[in-house]
């Protein structure tokens, strides 16, 4: 253990001690913290790129970003938010919470855990370094369609490919670790159907990761050999097929979007019952719905490709399968509402974010259903309507999910309560700004504004201006979030071990802050109700 090692060599300089503690740590809580810090840092970088995009789109014409640079911002913003913010954010939460929720002393494979994390700074270092290269960063969108990314990609594309490989390795290793931990280290008595929902959704997410990240690795490897070793997987001139790229990419990409949201479902399912003071409605159906969503997510990738000239039969199949996903998703939403129903609710910051999550994610789900209808998709596809749709499921979905989790468990992690007044203020600014930024994008898309354009015709000016002002607010509100988190880490009202009066789960039986090593002897499960009452 790194900490014991520090004691062994007392005359080490504090810097070395600090570095070796964080570089060599195998402790799930410390690694969880590292993941969350990385995610938070990249959130600001990728957010700054979004600010450049919105600044350029504030008015028609070219003002701040030349077209090529704009395309680089669009690409890097997407890549970083998906791979650098949401995924590491959720993995950080998994690291912190899964062992504490299942009564395990640590992750099953602690060294692997360290390795999975420390790959990431290199992966994102590589990716970010492309911004300073000759020819600029990747500029072909986060979906990197061939041949724009292969034959026509800038030289930095190779760094991008390597970066994606590294992230993929990290994700797969992390996911394997999570699966192994959940299957082997659960406390006695915690059967699968008694696991907290956050653990369940992460288990399913981890399976998705293990299945699709190798497909992404395959796609970028084919790109690499196309670019440098004379193959033509994706080049029509050499007898290859550019559409094959899209099939491979979206076979990864569609499950990927569920990877970005399922842990959020888990978080909402933990938080809403606590603040409604009522058990989660329909635990079993929640689990089955999550599994159904995960399975269906493997057969609907074609809905990103309706305009590539798919045959009618394929279009119909994909449309029906996509519409079907609305059913288990609906079940989840109904269950959350039923959990709130006749509860005894209070609205602390985590609850506010969780409710914001449910409502706004559902709006994104509705536009998703509309997008599934092939004939109408011919009008929506590749417009701002799609941009609105996926920002509704990702911002108030994934990001609000992470934020509500941070507010909810931060007292457990730090031992201090966050500033409730500021937390609520953060929520209200965020909810206004999110809607101001992304709602007008629906109108822009319907009125005919294509996505990923640096400049637009005059009829789109008003809504773009509104969206840009909203985006500025949204960006600013994150500084408040940073302040709240830092303030909470540095001190504040002491948190009890239970923190929230009706929180359930093993993590709440631990003192706050949770000591570095917990559950070195397995706890009792289910927790005797009395344990809760003694606060």
């Amino acid at each position: 253990m790194a900490v014991t090692a520090d004691h062994a060599i007392p005359n080490r300089s504090p810097l070395i001690a600090f570095l070796s503690r964080w570089l060599l740590t195998t402790n799930h809580k410390e690694i969880g913290t590292l993941y969350l810090c990385l995610s938070f840092t990249l959130f600001f970088i990728a957010g700054a790129m979004a600010m450049v995009i919105r600044l350029e789109l504030f008015q028609p014409g070219i003002q701040f970003a030349e077209p090529l640079f704009y395309n680089q911002m669009v690409t890097m913003h997407g890549l970083l938010m998906v791979f650098g913010v949401v995924m590491p954010g959720f993995v950080g939460l998994a690291n912190w919470l899964i062992p504490m929720m299942i009564g395990a002393p640590d992750m099953a494979l602690p060294r692997l855990n360290n390795f999975s994390f420390w790959i990431l700074p290199f992966a994102f270092g590589l990716l970010l370094s492309t911004l300073f290269m000759e020819g600029g960063a990747p500029n072909f969108g986060w979906t990197f369609y061939a041949p724009l990314s292969t034959t026509y990609g800038p030289p930095s594309t190779d760094f991008f490919i390597l970066g994606v490989h590294l992230m993929g390795i990290s994700s797969v290793l992390g996911a394997i670790n999570i699966i192994v931990t959940i299957f082997n280290l659960r406390v006695e008595g915690m059967t699968l159907m008694k696991m907290p929902l956050f653990v369940w959704t992460w288990l399913i997410t981890a399976f998705l990761l293990v299945m699709v990240m190798p497909v992404l690795a395959g796609a970028v490897t084919m790109m690499l050999t196309d670019r440098h070793f004379g193959t033509s997987f994706f080049s029509a001139v050499g007898g290859g097929d550019p559409v094959l790229f899209q099939h491979v990419f979206w076979f990864f990409g569609h499950p990927e979007v569920y990877i970005l949201i399922l842990p959020g479902f888990g978080i909402a399912s933990q938080i809403i019952p606590t603040f409604a003071r009522k058990k989660l409605f329909g635990y079993h159906s929640m689990v089955y719905a999550t599994i159904a969503i995960a399975v269906l997510s493997f057969v609907v990738w074609g809905h990103h490709m309706f305009t590539t000239g798919m045959p009618l039969a394929a279009e119909l199949f994909v449309m029906y399968a996509t519409m079907l996903i609305a059913v288990p998703t609906g079940v989840k939403v109904f269950n959350w509402v039923a959990t709130m129903w006749r509860g005894s609710m209070t609205f602390e910051t985590p609850m506010l974010f969780a409710i914001g999550f449910v409502i706004l994610f559902t709006i994104g789900g509705f536009s998703g259903l509309m997008l599934a209808l092939v004939p109408v998709d011919f009008q929506y596809h590749d417009t701002f309507f799609v941009v609105a749709h996926f920002h509704y499921v990702l911002y108030p979905g994934a990001i609000f999910g992470i934020m509500s989790a941070v507010y909810y468990w931060l007292p457990k992690w730090t031992g201090n309560m966050y500033d409730e007044r500021l937390g609520k203020l953060h929520f209200w600014i965020a909810i206004v700004a999110v809607n101001m930024t992304f709602f007008p994008m629906h109108f822009l898309g319907l009125a005919g504004m294509p996505r990923r354009i640096v400049d637009y015709s005059l009829q789109f000016a008003d809504f773009n201006m509104v969206a840009s002002i909203g985006a500025g607010m949204l960006g600013m509100s994150q500084l408040l979030f940073l302040y709240i988190v830092v303030k909470c880490i540095r001190g504040g009202e002491k948190a009890s071990s239970r923190v929230w009066d009706s929180a359930e789960g093993l993590e709440w039986t631990l003192p706050s802050p949770a000591p570095l090593h917990t559950f070195t002897t397995p706890p009792k499960f289910p927790t005797p109700e009395e344990d809760y009452q003694h606060e």
Binding site: L68, L148, A236, L369, V376, F443
Partner: protein, 377 residues
């Protein structure tokens, strides 16, 4: 086929939405009805699905907000303790399935019609390339390029932006009314997507593929669209303009085009026959350069970093004439430098090459004549 609730809600919401879509707002915040039967069916389907979503949203969010009001701790201190009900779960699984079937039926029938590409009256081959469209009239055997015509000054905010800012082109695609026009799309380089919202046609133009779509346009007029698939630097500047003419006028237009082609080839013969002076070629060359080459190489020939080479003092523009001619006529394989031989006339090529060799401080003083270009073809 749709359930009763569906139909009722549909009636109500669709009528609200229709009232809305007639107002001036519709143009900036809703799908447009367009000018084909399909585009109107798509609009209906859009409104129908939107209506279903709005109704569902009102119910679900209504229940949530009511609960947040009525079941907050200060009003409802003792929570109930139910947490499971098979019946309720079955209901809220089954009802959405029925609603979805109600949506899938009209969507399927519209889609079957859209995908019926048989028996066209007229076929246009649309080829995308960075960043322009080429339209080939397969039945009349001629074609032309269509470039954005918005000047760079407007884009760079040096001049006020016009009404059709970045939606206007030099040569619009011309189509007749009331004919089943089939669009075949393909690409010379990366993937583009040909989209005209008023026809509800969006079809990817993919290298190595020929995709199909069609439209039967009911009214004459000018319709605009844009490239919908990210295709590189000037993706935003790849508009589509379609001029729809009544049938007889369209037939006349085709005849005029064929005549103009005859005349142009006569003109080309005349251009080749004479010897041009440096001043004349520089003059024409500058226009050709600004219109075709300056997006990448910049108006002063300075290029853009390593992505687009500088022509001022460049190796090829200051090197042997023959290499220069070849590079411009056939481009460089697998780069954005495309072959210009099919796109420009002998005179245009001769003058743009001469221009490159004598502008930007290159000052080589040599000239290439249209005849030389003709012989290199």
């Amino acid at each position: 086929m749709t359930s009763l609730i569906n139909r009722r809600c549909r009636g109500l919401i669709v009528s609200i939405l229709l009232a809305f879509s007639n107002s001036a707002f519709a143009a900036v915040m809703d799908l447009r009805p367009g000018v084909t039967d399909i585009s109107r069916r798509i609009l209906q389907l859009h409104h129908f699905s939107l209506a279903i979503c709005v109704v569902m949203a009102v119910l679900v969010f209504g229940a949530m907000f009511y609960s947040m009001y009525a079941h907050r701790r200060s009003k409802h201190p003792k929570p109930a303790d139910f947490h499971e009900s098979l019946l309720v779960e079955i209901i809220w699984t089954a009802v959405p399935v029925l609603i979805l079937i109600g949506l899938a039926i009209p969507a399927t029938s519209a889609l079957r019609e859209i995908e019926d590409n048989s028996n066209p009256d007229l076929t246009i081959l649309i080829t995308g390339s960075q960043w322009k469209w080429h339209y080939q009239y397969l039945d009349a055997d001629f074609g032309y390029y269509s470039n954005m015509s918005t000047p760079a000054e407007q884009i760079n905010n040096l001049e006020p932006k016009g009404r059709n800012y970045i939606l206007e082109v030099d040569n619009a695609l011309v189509l007749p009314t009331n004919k089943k026009v089939r669009f075949l799309t393909t690409s010379d380089d990366v993937i583009h997507s040909w989209w005209v919202p008023d026809f509800a046609v969006k079809q990817d133009a993919i290298p190595g593929y020929i995709n199909e779509a069609w439209a039967r346009i009911e009214v004459p007029g000018l319709f605009q669209g844009q490239c919908a698939e990210l295709c590189g630097k000037d993706h935003a500047y790849m508009p589509i303009e379609v001029e729809v003419l009544p049938e007889e006028e369209f037939d006349q237009w085709i005849l005029d085009q064929l005549l103009a082609i005859e005349l142009a080839s006569g003109q080309a013969v005349a251009d080749r026959a004479r010897t041009w002076t440096l001043a004349e070629l520089m003059d024409i060359g500058q226009t050709v350069f600004i219109d075709n080459c300056a997006t990448c190489h910049e108006a002063d020939g300075s290029g853009q970093g390593s992505t687009y080479p500088a022509l001022a003092g460049g190796e090829i523009p200051t090197g042997p004439m023959q290499t220069h001619i070849e590079r411009v006529m056939s481009g460089s394989v697998d780069t954005e430098m495309q072959a210009w031989a099919p796109q420009l006339s002998d005179l245009e090529l001769a003058s743009v090459i001469t221009y490159e060799r004598n502008a930007f401080g290159n000052d080589l003083g040599d000239i290439v004549q249209p005849l030389t270009i003709f012989e290199s073809r």
